[in-house]
Symmetry: C2
Subunit: 390 residues, 2 copies
């Protein structure tokens, strides 16, 4: 804790790429930023002075880390609920445990959203769902595949199974983890709305983005979502702001949505900087990382305006070549305007090791450039924009 | 030195705000960045992992620092010439001593520029000048004031005296430092051209900016320079690229120019990120800090294109309130689109403690916003755009 006149200390639990990019934003704000990292090699630990090495599952490590912070926030949602409560007794925790719960527990999230009037008011819905308890699972299915999700602990497609047979369902259920079963939504495309909310209650929404996932991993984000009906966009933004207030979120709230015609269906929530907002570093006036810091510090929020007509972000997944840096050099030569962000992570196949953002006016040209750069960096995982489209 | 596959290590001698903002850029590039700092409280030392504390005037400290680096570069030009030579025997030093010399020694710079054909070819000139050796000083003056400059070691107006009497000249000469006497140029305005050059010889120039200095300290930068004749702009950019090649610069070269009608007169050179280029963080595709890293690493250079029609940068000088952070909060509330960059420096009157950049289309509105934010941050040093205009 900083008792002298001067900027506050923000501590982030977790030291992945989200913490790394938040550290980068903290430099301009002049706030002190610390991370609780698993190892000194963690993405953010490499670039944060005084990274604390510890275990986010240990109350002792968390409390020790928090003792030097004015505000504690998170790079992931895996801190146990009882530890969040212990933290809240000694430090400002943002988002707080009562909000974070709905990003940690998908069943609690579905139940909570069903109980609010917000969704009905905005004409938004959740997929039909139920907790899995034995043989009743496939009653939801109507001949469509059924989606099983681990109620907690999943990320990047891990913990989600799309099952099109009773055998597949039985196989997942046999693992003995807590599951939620949901209706499979045959969506037209996926959208994401990203909002920030401060403890004082100020809210701000970024333009709604179109996202493309493959194997459960975000691959491409286009902002703003091309051709999105302005009424639908406003509805998504109102949803973001209303849910952030309803759930008492402080910091960022990302809502992943399925679009079916003009209908919006809520897929997932996250309460932290999110892959759907990486484009904001190069494409918006205020990056999501700075915005998260402003929000958790209860500072006035920054402009969420786009800095260019369009931005396309493509994730770089680890490929067959461990020498990412040398490949980066070629990308620089091929496209001096591509904004590449590397995370300092060891390359392993399919791992998110960086992203590329390109801004400008013609979305198809931007997609071409962003995919070309990302493909070159991800040797061995070549994909095309054509194949990647939606 | 990094022997494994992976990114190189760049070491910067000096840990002021230029190093701090370079550290921020290094995070995206995924290169390891270290600084040699005077104290752990230095602006960049606060945000750089493993900052080395040492004295840039000590060959031993420099060599020890360089032992862990692939490339050494600089946040200032004060490293003694003989130490640069010692460094060059063990590590890549960029810019090298033979180039840096002309940023260190104003007399050597003037002599060197007079000896090239570049200036005559581009119709650019230096002020008339001579080394000061006793009573012959005022022979240059023609009734105008005479400018005396310390040949080395000056910055932010320190080491420059505008003298309008023989007594004033005698007083400066009496300090016994090496001086250069120059013709006083009654300029219309000041311009700055910023270019990068890599060891492979690739060059790239940013748009020419208009700069406003007061008491020798840069206060305001407008990019691109409003109303600048495109031919004059191209001439300035060609000058930058030609001089970078002629002097063998690697990294950034900033040239401060006087504009008199269509005439360009060279004032100063610097071979590092420069205050005239701070606007590039928020206003250009590639920031000058990333560009400097690319250039010293011999990587392909990034796009120098502007990201907005106009950018205005105003420096924040320390004022009467030490609590810069609290003042920052008000600026955030008043102008959510103002990009404020704080340097983590203790506030003292007149010290550069941060800067504000605003981007958009209407230069007068942008100036208004940038000055309003900077004035609020600099309590006690209030200035107006009207007064500040040119």
């Amino acid at each position: 804790m900083n008792d002298e006149i001067g900027p506050p200390v923000v501590g982030m639990v977790g030291a992945g790429q989200l913490a790394r990019m938040t550290a980068q934003a903290a430099i301009s704000l002049g706030v002190e930023f610390r991370v609780l990292a698993d190892t000194p090699q963690d993405s953010a630990a490499q670039v944060c002075v005084g990274a604390v090495i510890g275990d986010y599952r240990s109350a002792e490590d968390l409390l020790k880390f928090a003792a030097d912070c004015d505000v504690v926030t998170f790079d992931h949602e895996h801190v146990p609920r009882e530890h969040l409560a212990a933290l809240e007794r000694v430090v400002a925790v943002r988002p707080g445990g009562n909000a974070l719960r709905f990003a940690q527990d998908k069943l609690a999230m579905r139940d909570r959203l069903s109980a609010t009037g917000v969704l009905a008011e905005l004409g938004v819905r959740c997929p039909r769902y139920r907790a899995v308890s034995g043989p009743a699972v496939d009653a939801l299915a109507d001949g469509r595949p059924i989606v099983l999700k681990a109620t907690s602990g999943g990320y990047d497609g891990k913990g989600v199974w799309i099952c099109d047979s009773n055998e597949a369902v039985a196989e997942v259920v046999s693992h003995g983890i807590d599951l939620l079963a949901e209706e499979y939504i045959p969506f037209d495309r996926e959208l994401a709305v990203l909002v920030a909310r401060s403890p004082k209650g100020q809210g701000a929404s970024y333009p709604v983005a179109a996202t493309v996932q493959r194997d459960g991993i975000c691959r491409e984000v286009i902002a703003p979502a091309p051709g999105l009906d302005p009424d639908v966009a406003v509805r998504a933004q109102r949803l973001g702001l209303a849910l952030a207030a309803e759930l008492g979120v402080t910091g960022l709230l990302a809502i992943e949505l399925f679009q079916v015609g003009d209908e919006l269906i809520i897929n997932e929530l996250a309460m932290r900087p999110h892959n759907c907002g990486h484009w904001t570093i190069d494409g918006a006036v205020t990056s999501q990382f700075e915005q998260h810091l402003r929000a958790v510090l209860d500072l006035p929020l920054g402009s969420t305006g786009a800095a260019a007509k369009a931005a396309v972000m493509v994730n770089v997944l680890g490929g067959g070549d461990p020498d990412l840096y040398s490949r980066f050099v070629h990308v620089m030569a091929a496209d001096p305007g591509a904004r590449v962000h590397l995370y300092g992570k060891r390359v392993s196949p399919g791992r998110k090791v960086g992203h590329v953002t390109v801004t400008g006016t013609d979305v198809e040209q931007l997609r071409d450039r962003a995919w070309r750069a990302a493909n070159y960096l991800s040797l061995g995982t070549e994909e095309s924009t054509g194949e990647g489209g939606r």
